[in-house]
């Protein structure tokens, strides 16, 4: 069984973790096209190489980011999510009609 280095708990058996999918930026829910939105919801990049993923250490419900080489099946680096997500994210609904006002979708 693989060992995953949890930034909070140190090296642990992979059994203690769940995979949370790739780190992908959500498109602006008000301004993206239906196709862009569908692609975000349903499609995976499935890169052969280094990917950035969400992992959760289940006993502590702690989410972190891992960079993993999917070809070599190796974890390269793991770190706290705050390294990537530093700012509070705000959502605003654009004033009708749609698309007229700027909206502050971050991340």
């Amino acid at each position: 069984m693989k060992i995953i280095h949890c930034p909070l708990n140190g090296p642990r058996n992979a059994q203690e973790f769940v995979h949370g999918g790739e780190v992908v930026a959500m498109p602006d829910p008000h301004r993206s096209s239906d196709a862009e939105w569908a692609s975000f919801v349903f499609l995976e990049n499935n890169v052969a190489g280094v990917v950035r993923e969400w992992w959760c250490h289940v006993p502590t419900a702690y989410w972190f980011i891992a960079e993993r080489d999917t070809v070599r099946d190796e974890f390269i680096r793991t770190y706290d999510a705050s390294e990537l997500f530093r700012e509070r994210v705000e959502f605003t609904r654009p004033a009708a009609p749609k698309g007229d006002a700027p909206n502050g979708q971050g991340a």
């Binding site: 909070l8 708990n9 140190g10 642990r12 058996n13 059994q15 203690e16 250490h57 289940v58 006993p59 502590t60 702690y62």
Partner: protein
Amino acid sequence: MSLNPIDRRARSFLYRELMAAGASFAEINGQACAMRFGSDSLAELARARAMAICDLSPLRRTGYKGWATAEWLAAQGCRIEDAPNRVYGQDDGARIARLSRGEFVVLSDLAQSTTLPDRLDGAWSIASANGCFRVPRTDSSAWVVITGEHAASMFAKVCGVDLRPHTFVNHSIAQTSLARMNAIICRSDIGGTLAFDVVFDLASSVYLWGAFLDAMQEFGGKPVGLEAIRTLAGV
């Protein structure tokens, strides 16, 4: 005459197991706590030194979490350092387990001489909470202590983390899976005897208690009462 656990409103989830094993109870914090099993206190003490489990669920404990919790606890006079997954002893015997940057469990001492959990809970309110939130650890989590020279070997049968005494040093914490249930394991030796506090989901009390007894059978392990543990601690 031993107290009957059902004579008090608050009850350990393990009281039936403890009664069946022949516990004598006394009141602690308004509920029945198993103080001893049988009359041979020397044998019980010897067991506590070799391989034993003791239900500490009636003992006071509390928890706090949130982004500003460390600051709030410090303001309440608690001494804690930055490293997570460590147990920080307090002057009055209380222990604060730092689980992460923002989450803490406060355990009282075996003699129940500390007032820290009550003091903190008294000082806190939702109205004044500022990034620090109370976690009802007394209600959400069972608390047992596993003691004795065989304790680490017993854990090796239910836990995938290396808890051998020379790698998992005193005051270390492992938040992991125990017999497939999430648990917090804190090493806090008692008077020179290897000891692990285990704080885990209250609802799995009966299940994990059974798993522990099963795993400690080969080491002759059995439940002991609080008195034996207090004797280990010299209180």
